[in-house]
Amino acid sequence: MKHLLKSFAPLLAGVLLAGTLQAQVASPSLNLSQPNLTSAVAGWREEISAQASYFEGNGKRRQGGSDVYEFSSTGSSSGLTLPFWILTLEAQAQNRSYKTKINERQEGTLPIDQNDSHVALAISDNPSWFSLGVGSGTAQQNDYQSRLQPKQHSQLSSLDGSLSLKFGDWFYLGNGVRQIRDQTEERVDLFRFERLAGVGMIFGQPGESRLRLEVSRIESPKAFEARDASQAYHRHDHELTDFQEAEVLIQGLLFSGRSMTKTRDEKIANGNSATQMTTETRREGGVIWVPKEGLFLGFAFINEVLDHPNYTDSHSSFQINIGYLF
């Protein structure tokens, strides 16, 4: 089993690595420090803002009835939203690093660090009923595989295009597609794509109490690239990610709850095509002060669980969000 998991280690990369939970596909978050998932959503932003966050957490891996690893993690992110004329530019970057306290390596990949960046450009008419966005991003990651391979580098480069439509000032529909180049050491590059779709509702006018609800989904079909003369094959299993979000803004205080569930059809490559599901869940709850202008500050508690057929990773973290609204 160990060697089989090892051969699929790149597929496990990315687990429990999400920092700020990006879940905005159709409508913009009422939290200005919240980065968007699709570029088109940036087009709904009307304020210039700069934001940063710091997060810290710890967790453990449970395998075979006992705790085999303990993690601690730290990270930070920064972002800038710049609307001008009918265009909106949004840039964000994030890093996160892990320390593993118990050096008792067993099965499965262990994350070491991650660096993400994304730039989005959106165009929307005025008064707005649509927003069209394009974006580009990279997500670099290092993982521990084994003593022989203590650091494996992988990188996802993406180009995305998306459209968000607004009906009647409160109902939003979002759709997008993302092309991804999946690069991992010792494997051939894999080109694949993801589809994004979401429905959002925002009740209330700016400056008043507001309620925002959104559900969205990312579908990432399976993809395969055969080996070449020097590098091994590269496979991506089918993934489905569902998001739910609720935000309530009362007198400048924004309370939010988000959840994400990602399921991955993971085949064990032993020739028998056995299919196992890996499920990753993330729950986030927080509060932030959102002023009409000036400094904003908030915090969030985050719980993440990765339920793999062979082990369970759990991780809880605390995030501080700070920014300035111009």
Binding site: E56, N58, D67, E70, K101, Q251, G252, L253, G286, V287, I288, W289, P291, G294, L295, F296, L297, G298, F299, A300, F301, S316, F318, I320, I322
Partner: protein, 314 residues
């Protein structure tokens, strides 16, 4: 005399250190900061309601005497509070550096000496002078015999000002503990408070507050390594300034539940009286804090003398 024990199992030292995990700053505020600006805030959201910046210090001398064997002990601590405030933002750092501390264990009626270093960093934003959102990061290290216990917590809180002078606040902290040779532990600490505060620092002021702190623990265990601290603290305070003098009273009750199946509740009850000079730019306050701690039928008397001093910039 403080007795030193070096030949007992590390589990005993760990157990005693766990009791310290329930400890709070001797004087703490949850909903509103004390009228004595040199005293620390317990949550970031509290710090927001300060009036201006502060450079403050506190020295604490303590004496203890048990009623059983009539053994005695002493303690000496120095604390600091630094607060910097702009129109919206408040930054506060407070903590303890070094000092001599004592811990009473009622089962064998003995005092143990331990060392502590702790620091708290608070950051808060005040919105429209009616909302406060704050975050905090706390680190402490306690050493007893050869066991070093590190505790770290981070959390966020929310404070609201209702009407002219009614304040409510709530906060949650995630606490983690590391002791070499033992499994790490995690638990949650919840804080809530309601207070009244009227007046301005350049005149007479009145403040009263009631607060609760629940330090969540794990189910009971047979040995110290299996359990984490569990305690409930209630704080009630009444303060006012009159003609440049500050008068203060605070009552604190701490109940540490018996996380060990065979142990008994530890209950501390403190009464604190304070009197001192308080002006817009400086303060010098003296407090006497007397307490009784019971553990089963065992009991000890505690007396603390605090001197706080600070310079304030509004």
């Amino acid at each position: 005399m403080v007795e030193r024990h070096h030949n007992s199992g590390r589990g005993i030292w760990l157990g005693l250190l766990l009791l310290l995990g329930c400890a709070l700053p001797a004087q703490a505020q949850v909903a509103t900061p004390s009228l004595d600006p040199s005293l620390p805030s317990l949550t970031g959201a509290t710090s927001s309601w300060r009036y201006g910046s502060t450079l403050g210090g506190e020295s604490v001398y303590g004496s203890y005497q048990s009623s059983g064997n009539e053994v005695k002990a002493k303690s000496l601590q120095n604390n600091y509070t630094l607060a910097f405030q702009t129109t919206q933002l408040t930054l506060e750092a407070n903590g303890t550096q070094g000092g001599i501390n004592t811990l009473w264990e009622g089962g064998n009626d003995r005092y143990y000496e331990w060392q502590e270093t702790d620091s708290h960093a608070l950051l808060a934003v005040r919105g429209e002078n009616r909302v406060s959102v704050g975050v905090s990061v706390n680190k402490s290290q306690t050493t007893l015999a050869d066991v070093v216990r590190k505790e770290k917590s981070y959390g966020g809180g929310l404070g609201l000002r209702l009407g002219e002078g009614v304040y409510v606040a709530g906060a949650m902290e995630k606490v983690s503990e590391e002791v070499p040779g033992f499994d790490d532990k995690k638990w949650t600490r919840n804080l809530a408070g309601i207070g009244l505060r009227y007046g301005w620092p350049d005149g007479n002021q009145f403040r009263t507050e009631y607060a609760l702190v629940a330090n969540g623990g794990s189910p009971q265990g047979q040995v110290w390594a299996e359990v984490v601290p569990k305690s409930q603290t209630t704080l009630a305070s009444l303060e006012f300034t009159l003609g440049g003098w500050l008068f203060s009273y605070e009552n604190t009750k701490i109940v540490q539940e018996p996380v060990l199946t065979w142990a008994q509740n530890r209950v501390q009850t403190w009464s604190r009286y304070g009197l001192g000079l308080k002006s817009l730019h400086y303060s010098l306050i003296f407090y006497r804090r007397a307490g009784v701690e019971t553990q089963g039928t065992a009991e000890q008397q505690m007396n603390h003398y605090h001197l706080t001093f600070g310079f304030h910039f509004i």
